[in-house]
Symmetry: C2
Subunit: 482 residues, 2 copies
């Protein structure tokens, strides 16, 4: 029996080499010109759907055809997180070493579900997470790389639920006392989502009020735990945040840890954004008390120059994760002594070679280079802070300990919140329409504010000045101080 | 205030272009020589940990240094899923277009949590999933790309739990009736893991016996549902498998769907491996009845030439997913009409540009090219099947409808299972030690068997013959028939 004709199962080496060259050229060109493109895509919903065929081609097409569509159809629909004017959400940045690693990882295309299925993946993950923990001043905990902080927090809180001893793994949650989970009102929505998935329910998620500096009130945390106990609830975990999403506030982790110890609760720390600051010695305080945590998440794809996705989950109690998740069917049994199979610590089985990019990032920049770049981002944010603070018609709405500044335009005499919100929303809309920068907004204690987040390697003082000027222009106020 | 000196925030364009060239050369070389490397890594646990420094470098190092370590330290620790002799688990394969897309995705480094944060990502995901659904003969359902089938199944079963109307989202599972979830005894472990995470508990997961062909017994499914109802349990979902992990059996989906309809249960189909076969018209039967499902997962990173990770989750009931997961904090509120924000349908917020690789794969191969390659994999497996069936000392232990063959060495007179297991485990060990092929094992109805899974684009008839010969040699029997 002969095979039907397939000219070549994949591209030939020569074709592939040529395509790699073309794509490499495109990427270098893209990185060169991205600062001149509009940050925020200007297409309308449906534009790309309409521009592409409704079904896949029957026959293959040459690489030139897809690269042309990439340039003509896809690129205008990209919001450029690589743009030096991207200052929304958390400004993030890939980097050359990270991109090279994604290329290599795609080519090696291995799946590290078991140690045996790619020992290099399992061991490099161990090595780079040790490097990372050491650079952050954390203990040499067990670590694993997941896709996002949402997953890391979900996995950690599943372990926390396991640690209750209620045997939810075997018996399920029905018939158990209602669980209660604590975080501050400023915690990320991923905590709620984890609570939903785990069957805790919104009613079991307590959002503890925060101080004027947006840090969790520890006395109110403890009071809530005690009240829940009296009411027959079963408190099981606290999520402390190091760098809240809106204001980058740092919860008092050491005090929260003491509460957790007193009440036998799991402490998970969400340091997804701000944790990486601790690579710089003067920001080591950021993770103060975190050595008392049971688990901690910090995302290299946020502020460590690593392309998305890459989230690091550390824990001092890996055995609990194993108890929560390990489940080895026959077809995955191995007999390798001394090997750690990462699938045993999470619900995810397939696992790509993400450690490569973190490794390349550390080797290219070195910890001193990383610290210098983080320091520079903070410096830029502090410059902006100083202009805002000196401006009579601008009002800062939160401390700015890192590289994020929350503020609003506040003309003399305008005191009604709805008026201020309308004004600032309109300023935001005008600024973003320029395409030169992209800012986002949030609300702090009910007050609408503009949010500038600096985290891109290409952002410089000139671009921050420009952002400031654009805000002032949109608000019709002078751009003083710069 | 002046910045401290950072020579260049990232590699210069010239350096980066040169590094891309070096890495491209390395990749082309790797792809050329991978077939001559040992498939299964031969390192011992700890070898790579010992070979690398225990902390990150202080100062950056040149790209040559990391690439040298990649070659000398990392590569020997890689189990080569790219190797044409990789026939373990599910043989998978990346492809040139997929690798190019990973490179571009890493460079664009966008996060599609909202439509607005990368419209191209959201819309291309919609377009390629429509292409995929159409190619598989599925309805034009709502779809989203996740990392792995484990995540897809977890998200789908969270939606199923939401569809019960028990308001688990708000109230949690405590105080609700015990949930029950059904799948066959041959279903993947990810179903159990989803059940654990969701708070169903192992006691709530019913593994329904399967037939001699490893297909779920539908009458026993229905009996189990009825019994659970009588016992005060709350049945909520059935997972049918299209291509079970061990034997690639296809559950009778249409009949299972009828049971689900009768009892008001959610039907999730796990077609992670075999679903893609339906791209070939003669395998369209594979997904028969799946149009009746509420959700279905199929993984392009398994049998659609797409680098890991890429899992497609389709659903006819996207509103239920939204009800289960949507939760929009102020800082993520947008005002774009007609746009779908993918974060509302899952617990994961961050989302990388995975649609690119699926797009490139379709455009490079075309659906005919994809079908031809799947057909070829099945043909190779059928050849192997014919040699096994004709061999008096080999015994096939399951039907082989796709590209996976389960069999064992069975010498005349050896009838005790422990003896057969010992013999076959030893054959497996010897075959894998050659480094020419890598097979895995499983148990079917308690019988230990060898498992050959063909799914790599570079696997050809010669390599399959070699695998067969190696098994026969290791067992000390003649390699007849080839």
């Amino acid at each position: 029996m002969e095979s039907e004709s397939i000219d070549s199962p994949d591209m030939s080496n020569a074709e592939f080499a040529k395509a790699l060259e073309r794509v490499s050229d495109w990427i270098v060109s893209y990185r060169t010109r991205v600062g001149g493109l509009p940050v925020l895509s200007r297409i309308q919903p449906g534009d790309i759907e309409k521009a592409l065929p409704s079904s896949a081609p029957l026959e293959g097409e040459p690489v030139e055809a897809w690269l042309k569509d990439l340039e003509d159809i896809i690129l205008p629909g990209v919001t450029h997180w690589n743009h030096p004017g991207f200052m929304a959400y958390f400004g993030i940045t890939g980097s050359a070493p990270g991109i090279l690693a994604e290329l290599i990882g795609g080519a090696i295309n291995t799946n590290g579900m078991l140690w045996k299925t790619c020992p290099a993946l399992a061991e490099l993950e161990r090595v780079v997470l040790r490097w990372y923990a050491t650079a952050l001043g954390l203990p040499d905990w067990f670590g694993m790389i997941t896709d996002t902080a949402s997953t890391s927090t979900l996995v950690a809180l599943a372990a926390a639920r396991e640690a209750t001893g209620l045997d939810v793994r075997q018996e399920g949650l029905s018939g158990k006392p209602p669980l209660a989970l604590y975080c501050s009102e400023e915690a990320h929505s991923s905590v709620d989502k984890a609570g939903l998935v785990l069957g805790v329910g919104m009613q079991g998620i307590r959002r503890i009020p925060s101080s004027e500096a947006f840090r969790m009130h520890v006395d109110q945390l403890e009071a809530a735990i005690e009240k829940d106990r009296q009411d027959g609830k079963h408190p099981f975990a606290v999520v402390a945040t190091v760098g809240t999403t809106s204001a980058t506030a740092v919860d008092p982790v050491r005090e929260i840890a003491a509460v957790c110890r007193r009440h036998g609760l799991w402490l998970h720390v969400d340091a997804a954004y701000a944790g990486s600051a601790a690579v710089a010695p003067e920001f080591r305080w950021t993770l103060d008390g975190c050595d008392q945590a049971d688990s901690l998440v910090v995302n290299p794809h946020k502020w460590l120059f690593t392309p998305i996705d890459c989230s690091a989950l550390f824990t001092s109690r890996p055995d609990i994760f194993r108890n929560a998740f390990s489940l080895v069917p026959e077809y995955l049994r191995t007999d390798v002594r001394g090997a750690v199979d990462l699938m045993d610590y999470s619900f995810q089985l397939g696992r790509r070679f993400r450690a490569l990019k973190l490794w390349f990032v550390f080797r290219h920049f070195g910890t001193r280079g990383i610290a210098a770049r983080i320091r520079e981002h903070v410096r830029l944010a502090q410059e902006l802070t100083s202009w805002i603070d000196a401006h009579p018609q601008l009002e800062r709405l939160a401390p700015a300990p890192f590289s994020v500044v929350c503020f609003r335009v506040h003309p003399a005499g305008m005191e009604e919140e709805p008026d201020l919100e309308r004004l600032n929303a309109s300023v935001l809309q005008k600024v973003n329409a320029t395409g030169e920068v992209f800012l986002s907004h949030t609300k702090l204690k009910g007050r609408y504010c503009l949010r500038v987040a600096i985290g891109n390697l290409q952002t410089n003082l000139e671009r921050v000045r420009r952002a400031y000027r654009l805000v002032c222009e949109a608000a019709g106020i002078p751009a003083t101080g710069i």
